[in-house]
Amino acid sequence: MLDLAPNNKRGLVLHSPIMVGSGGAGNGDCWPSGLTPDMFAAVVTHPVTLRPRRGSEPPRLAELPAGFLLNTGDHNPGFRRLLDQHRTQWRRLGVPLIISLAEGAPGDRAWMAERLEEEPVVAGIELPVREDVNLGELSAAIAAVRRVTTLPLLVKLPSTRAAHLAKACVVAGADALVIGGPPPAVYPASGQALLEGVLGGPIALPFTLRALEKVAALALDAALIASGGIQRRQDVALCLNMGATAVQVRSLLWTDPAAARALAQWGQDPIE
């Protein structure tokens, strides 16, 4: 049995190492052709903020070789509406639901985390971390959330700075580290407007692997979850081999649901 939070009383047990990464299935309500929640080990929502956010103006997407840049600007309906609109549907998910809490005003995340204690449908919290965060602020923010919740806490680190930030996160109370948010970049979208966004797709994998290698070498007392660019069985095998307990897939669900379905059968298949 895989447990992403063995030191946490609640634990976070997965039936396979293949999770749906933040927003891959929207807020657990957007399932591409042929995919159902129970195929995956867990589902992470889009990052939510306390108040609604209209997100970025278009264009939000630019194509890169073997990938893309995406910038949605944390477009979301706000914490209260998210829960109100999805609670019923989440009860039927059948697998652990992890709420991603985006950074907003100071104290917002702790406030939301505290509310989530009263939501039996929620199995964990993921905190995405900005690339330019300062180490002290990050520790304080994680510790503030840790104080108010008994839920398993996943911290999603930017891949370029994961090794630098990892230890402080575990000390501050993270149960697991998601490695990592791919690096930001700029490229012209269609219509020539320069788009600043975060890398996605297969081309993100080399950044994930570098961060995973460096964080695994620290041998911290936290589960590692590889995220960013994972597409093929060999990518999963490599990440598990390098020390990850699980992986998150996202855009594969969109570009090739059949491949995502096959990948989700990890371990159930005699040929591996």
Binding site: G23, G26, P32, L61, E63, F68, T72, H75, I203, Q231
Partner: protein, 255 residues
Amino acid sequence: MIQTKAHVVKRESERGHVILTLKAAALAMRLGPGQPILVRPGPGLDPYLPRTFHPLSIQDDLLSIRIPPDADRGHAWLRARSVGETLDCLGPVGRGFRIAAQARRLLCLGEGEWAWTLLSLVEKAVAQGVAVTLAVEATSATRAIPAQRLPLAVEYRLATVDGSRGRRGRISTLLPELLSWADAVAAAGTMAFYQTLAAAIEEQRLLLRHGYAQALYPSTFFCGVGACQTCARDVAGGRRRVCLRGPVFDLADIV
């Protein structure tokens, strides 16, 4: 939405663009005019984003897509496919054109490349016995839909910016006459085109009422199921995901 392997059963090449006829029964069955499909544009993981197509015709187990003669390398790969190969397709995306039960005279209005996306609607409306006029604005005659692509029953009106065929200039000069005839409108073009159209309708009919004109929002799609949030636009009174609410909207909701 379903994912399916579509078989290329016919390939026509015409003035740079390529039309592929695909055999994909389960997809054709679910697909209506105005609903796009997403096609994988290469054999591997690059290019990675799907390409969006609005089938030109949907008949029984067949559908056809037109790949424009642009510089996109995904399109270049798709243009090079030949009969017997298969394409990985996802679709249909969102909601398409509706032909109201009481519609008798349907005006289909297309601008430039977007005009092609109306062909399957034209086909379906004619088959249902609706009188159809297709009016198209193109930069020149060679870039317009050839008349022989249309059912005989369709009245085809053309405005070319260079005057090489039909009315010289923009389509706006044709609109008063066309709108006075039509009891329903379906349009495909840019947002600027829709502004012009809405203004002409208001001039002609005093009010742009819901239910009179539908318009295809000009967009490509990534996930097509609401997850990626890349297609969000300010339409229908809020910031909506075009792949869920559209891509066909009431014109009154997008201008």
